[in-house]
Subunit: 253 residues, 2 copies
């Protein structure tokens, strides 16, 4: 058996988004690709799962080395159902993206692209998220390809530690100052809601806001992006706070 | 000014769930309570947010020391909109729960109750999630009250480090072997999908499955729960993998 690596791809912008199709074109250089992605945009779903309604899985297309499915579930659901009902063998890699928008700093918590990758990681498969800091549906993803190739090649060769995955964010720029391995930047969303009046009366609220970076460390992912570096943030599914765990031994409980 | 602490409460089972109402009854001993919780059950929403439709906020009731609102958004949205448009002053505490169901191990990633608490933490407010390992809508929450009182009192007195919050899970038991400060247990979901045929044909998939614990460490939260201990898992919003960050300095990127 001399099988090519199998690469499972999903995203949160839907299977028709430009970002995922660009990603697939690069990943096909490395192996056979199976796409199982949301049937519509499912941005901001984090690690959400669908427990109260069933989901539908639809085969969209099939050609040598590439199968594409859509799923009515969340990004996490897509990885779960792909592993259960779609992939012909265990994937060597789960890849999320390329997201249309920034997933650095705490935004990783809200991100469906990171949902894909955390789910892949929970299943013990090396997993990588790629995101471009542009919400433009027709953004130019070609500048990202070289770094994607390098990261994918390294992960296929080296693997990743159990419970660890990568969150890669690209500045929206035709070329980069370099690649930086980063930590998650501190920051918070402010001015998050805008009230609108419904045509028939009553207030409805739109989630909006600005992200306030509270970090100046050049190794913080959002700061690196602002200096035109590609930011690679190694991420763990174990979010135990081990320092606080130690301190709490003194608490009276 | 000698104001009582303000405690913001939310959940993912909806404002009418028994768990949140039991929680509120205990928290009123400590301060004024504002509830902003989903109008219906929103389990499994993780840190999901609502960006594609506006959300509605509805005042349900108001009495001395207790205001209750429902919101059509996710658990995270509830905390966001509460902080923006509801609370009369900065909350001293954000509390999520009491969840009807286990949120230990990697389930914390899928949990809307943890979404509440991670969001509170992102806003710099000490935040605590409480969950009972029972999905029964009429579960008995009274055994949890003493530990809830102790944890809330300690957090109000000591605070929590910036970026840290607590994930507290209770065994479904009338009394406990003790309280243990834990780390997140390793484990994974298996047999996750069940295919059903729609009355008009076509396959639909229900998310189900069993959680396989891959941990024997008595300090792992799921293991502690199985030994009838209350498990308190200190949790960080910074899920950078600092060990991998160091190793990756050697990668060719």
């Amino acid at each position: 058996m001399n099988e090519r690596p199998l690469i499972l791809v999903s995203n949160d912008d839907g299977y028709q988004a430009k970002g995922i199709n660009c990603l697939v074109s690069v990943l096909r250089e490395f192996g056979d690709v199976v796409v199982v992605a949301p049937h519509i945009g499912r941005s901001g779903k984090g690690c959400g799962i669908t427990s109260e309604v069933p989901v539908k899985l639809t085969k969209i297309s099939s050609e040598e080395g590439l199968e594409i499915y859509s799923c009515t579930g969340t990004p996490c659901d897509c990885v779960k159902i792909a592993c259960h009902a779609v992939v012909p063998r265990r994937p060597s890699l789960v890849v999320g993206g390329i997201n249309h928008g920034d997933n650095s700093a705490v935004n990783a918590h809200y991100s469906g692209t990171m949902g894909v990758v955390l789910e892949g990681c929970m299943k013990g498969i090396p997993s990588i998220a790629f995101s471009l800091c542009s919400h433009d549906a027709d953004a130019d993803f070609t500048p990202t390809y070289d770094v994607i190739r390098k990261v994918v090649a390294q992960v296929l060769e080296r693997g990743l530690p159990a419970g660890s995955c990568l969150n890669v964010n690209f500045p929206n720029s035709p070329s980069y100052a370099g690649v930086r391995v980063c930590r998650q930047a501190a920051g918070t969303w402010v001015n998050e809601w805008e009230a609108h009046i419904h045509p028939r009366g009553g207030e409805w609220w739109w989630l909006t806001g600005e992200f306030a970076v509270e970090d100046k460390d050049p190794q913080a992912d959002r700061v690196a992006l602002d200096s035109n570096y590609v930011a690679i943030t190694p991420t763990t599914i174990d979010f135990t706070d081990y320092r606080l765990l130690k301190e709490m031994q003194e608490w009276e409980l």
